[in-house]
């Protein structure tokens, strides 16, 4: 059978005609991406405010009468859950996945546009359910983002009645939304690539999003399963996870259940979740680095393989979160081993990013600054991860601020820096306008240096033994007074960083209206999305004819070429050369 790109098969385009079908019930991947993205950023800001409130309490205990211990637990929980699931997962996959996959592989849209639309509305529903829990009696759950039973559903934990139920319901709806979107992303990558786009010619962004989606499809069911079983325990009195318990003087009906079983299920989801966030970040940052260093990405094949290997390994390391759970000690050995192995492909990626910069023709644009910042924070968080991966080191550090510092560096700050890199990088494509560069640079330096000011001292607090998830430190011998002074400084930095994020929001909105009109390809990038006939791309993306792909996405600094780059979609004979340089040949044929 001859190959007809899916996008060009009949019945595929679903042209919108009314305002509602164009911007509200839209099936266009670009509109859905923006819907996903803005919803995610909106809830992300709520999580940021919650973190500021927590920091106020920690930095200045006994000052804010409106924050009591129960509030603090609720803030911790909602902050963590929103950041990990509703911001990062949704923005990387629902936002960038939706925007970039069809554009970078040369498709007109996702293969199941209707399902894609449903995916967004289910996501919005899950967000609404989540936020509703702030307004129910008892407030949102305060069980910690890990939601460990039995305490998550016992009286005494804030939000143990309505709050936790809404949280579980919201997560279940989120999983459904993710599955609808995920099936789309995977199938689109596999089935809808344009003429010439082999798997190994895809930009690394698509690879990262693709593999992360597969991880999500197979990891989220674990969250779903545990949410269902916990709901039964709470509502119908089963004992999946609930042991025999005396609670507030009365004996509960439950008996015999296994809380550790929940932990296994949760982390079977929870660890891959780290990579669901990290792999798209790896992909996006690779493309940004390569483009702004005007160099091909170092070791493309190894980068792809590392993404796949990390993805596979991420399913067999989960119990490194459970060294102190009382599980069989031999498990600890196994999981420490796999955890340290995963460091190898990860390190390879880091070396390759650094080597991509090596002797590059670096343009220090705003996206590039964020991308380079990411290399710093990621190495930093990765190194402390190697500490914590070892059982003996983890035991004393577990549940201290060292862990808080570690995971914020590696999966808080690092992915967020990549998100900013990506948002600045693709902003001119998404909106057709250029953002304000000065504001962008201010935003970068404030965020990058500011987050170091927040998290570096936290490592030290962790060594002192300051416990995580504590409302106040109280009077303890092992924590010196100076720790409190440090805490106040951390809070000042956190408030500063939080406020500086408004610079970004302002820049995005202001530039939308007053920004300079952007060039269709302002960064001289090679991948397909920069070659669309319209800027920003319109419905159907490519006009009459789909692009044809002749090479990979990293043809930068091409010797003799008029521009220093060759887009993926230009035929070899059409590449313009400098005078006297002869015809364009692929560099591989020179040696």
């Amino acid at each position: 059978m001859t190959y007809i790109p899916i996008a060009d098969q009949p019945n595929e385009l679903h042209d919108p005609h009314t305002f509602i079908s164009k911007y509200v019930w839209s099936q266009d991947h670009k509109v859905i991406a923006i819907q996903y993205g803005s919803t995610a950023i909106f809830v992300g800001l709520i999580a940021l405010v919650l973190s500021a409130l927590m920091r106020l309490q920690l930095g200045y205990p006994d000052t804010f009468s409106f924050i009591d211990p129960a509030d603090y637990y609720q803030f911790v929980t909602m902050h963590g859950m929103i950041m990990v699931i509703y911001l990062l997962t949704a923005l990387f996959l629902g936002g960038f996945g939706n925007y970039l996959i069809p554009l970078q592989i040369g498709a007109r849209d996702m293969v199941f546009p209707y399902l894609n639309m449903l995916s967004y509305w289910f996501y919005l529903l899950s967000v609404i359910i989540l936020l509703a829990s702030f307004f129910v009696p008892g407030g949102p759950t305060g069980a910690g983002w890990t939601l460990y039973p039995p305490q998550a559903i016992l009286r005494g934990t804030p939000g143990a009645d309505m709050g936790i139920m809404l949280m579980l319901a919201s997560l279940a709806v989120f999983v459904v939304a993710f599955t609808m979107g995920g099936l789309n992303y995977v199938t689109t990558v596999l089935q809808a690539r344009t003429n010439g786009m082999t798997l190994m010619r895809m930009p690394l962004s698509v690879w990262g999003i693709f593999v992360a989606t597969i991880l999500g499809l197979f990891a989220f069911p674990a969250l779903f399963v545990s949410a269902i079983m916990m709901t039964f325990d709470k509502l119908l009195g089963t004992s999946f996870f609930m042991p025999a318990i005396q609670s507030l003087g009365e004996t509960l009906n439950t008996a015999g259940g296994s809380p550790v079983l929940f932990q296994h299920l949760f982390w079977f989801f929870g660890h891959p979740e780290v990579y669901i966030v990290a792999l798209p970040a790896f992909g996006l940052v690779s493309d940004v680095l390569s483009c702004h260093a005007r160099k091909n990405i170092f070791g493309y094949r190894l980068m792809v393989w590392a993404i796949i290997i990390i993805g596979a390994l991420s399913f067999i390391v989960w119990a490194h979160h459970m060294y102190v759970s009382g599980m069989n000690p031999y498990f600890g050995f196994f999981f420490a081993f796999t955890t340290l192995i995963i460091a190898v492909p990860t390190a390879i990626k880091v070396y390759n990013w650094v080597l991509t910069l090596w002797e590059g023709n670096i343009r220090l644009t705003v996206p590039m600054l964020f991308a380079i910042g990411f290399i710093f924070t990621f190495i930093h968080g990765g190194l402390t991860g190697i500490f914590l991966g070892n059982v003996t080191v983890d035991l004393p550090l577990s549940d201290t601020y060292f862990v808080v510092a570690h995971f914020h560096m590696v999966m808080g700050v690092s992915p967020v820096l990549v998100l900013y890199a990506a948002l600045y990088h693709w902003y001119p494509k998404i909106t057709g306008k250029m953002f304000n560069v000065t504001l962008g640079k201010i935003h970068f330096w404030a965020t990058f240096l500011g987050t170091y000011a927040i998290y570096l001292p936290m490592h030290y607090l962790g060594f002192l033994g300051v416990p995580r998830r504590y409302y106040a430190m109280g009077n303890t011998d092992f924590i010196p007074d100076s720790a409190q002074a440090l805490n106040a400084n951390i809070t000042q930095a956190a408030i500063f960083v939080g406020i500086m994020q408004l610079v970004f929001i302002f820049n995005v909105i202001w530039s939308l209206k007053y920004g300079k009109k952007s060039d269709p390809n302002p960064w001289d990038a090679t991948s397909l999305e920069w070659q669309t006939p319209d800027n920003p791309p319109v419905h159907g993306n490519w006009g009459e004819k789909l692009p044809v792909v002749y090479r990979w996405a990293y043809e930068y600094s091409v010797p003799g070429a008029k521009d220093d780059f060759v887009p993926q979609s230009i035929a070899p004979e059409d590449v313009e050369m400098l005078e006297g340089e002869g015809k364009y040949v692929d560099r591989s044929e020179e040696h």
Binding site: Y3, M229, S239, N253
Partner: protein, 205 residues
């Protein structure tokens, strides 16, 4: 084209003079609906695998009291088998262009499926009457949860079945119908397989 071979490609080298790789190295003619369904099946399989793992872990603890087996489950198994078999047959006759048999098969397949779900609900009723409530014992809880989730997936299948029959009424193309019935049959086979595993699990433990 194997995935493995695909990721060995050296993209920085030009494959051919034109820069275009050989046809078949990119894109694919498998209908996306089928690929989507295969991934969905994998997701559901992972979900059941996790439930079953939890089942085994929980089973080892002291308070596990197995439920008695209902003979009706055998009948239900036969019904689900028949529905899966009928839908496959429906697909086969459609391919041969036998329109009348196709209609009969499609309806019959759904009837067997509804009968299966009805049978499962009856079993739940029987169990409740015999005093095996959800909250008495984890074995009971797992039984209800597993069969319930399975039944929900069967009902989801019926939803897609409805879309198929609507397509037929609105005079859809032959190929389109063929694809629909193929996917229905595939999904039902999968549900049958899951059911056999679950049935074995609750019977032998």
């Amino acid at each position: 084209m194997s995935l493995f071979r695909a990721i060995l490609e050296k993209p920085w080298k030009q494959q051919t003079a034109s820069g275009l790789p050989a046809e078949g190295d990119y894109g694919s003619v498998t209908p996306p609906q089928k690929v989507g369904l295969l991934f969905f099946i994998a997701v559901v399989a992972v979900m059941f695998a996790l439930f079953i793992t939890a089942y085994f872990v929980r089973m080892e603890l002291d308070d596990w009291r197995p439920m008695p087996e209902s003979q009706l489950l055998w009948l239900n198994t036969v019904l689900l088998f028949l529905s899966s078999f009928t839908l496959q047959w429906t697909h086969n006759v459609l391919k041969k262009g036998q329109d009348k048999q196709f209609k009969i098969g499609l309806i019959l397949g759904a009837l067997f499926t509804v009968a299966f779900v009805y049978g499962q609900i009856t079993v739940w009723g029987q169990m409740q009457e015999a005093g095996y409530y959800l909250y008495n014992n984890p074995a009971n809880a797992f039984f209800y949860v597993l069969t319930g989730i399975h039944a929900i997936h069967v009902l989801g299948g019926l939803f897609v079945w409805t879309k198929t029959i609507v397509k037929y009424w609105s005079g859809a193309e032959h190929e389109e119908l063929e694809l629909s019935t193929e996917l229905c049959a595939l999904y039902w086979h999968f549900l049958l397989l899951v059911w056999l595993v679950l049935f074995a699990l609750v019977s032998y433990t």
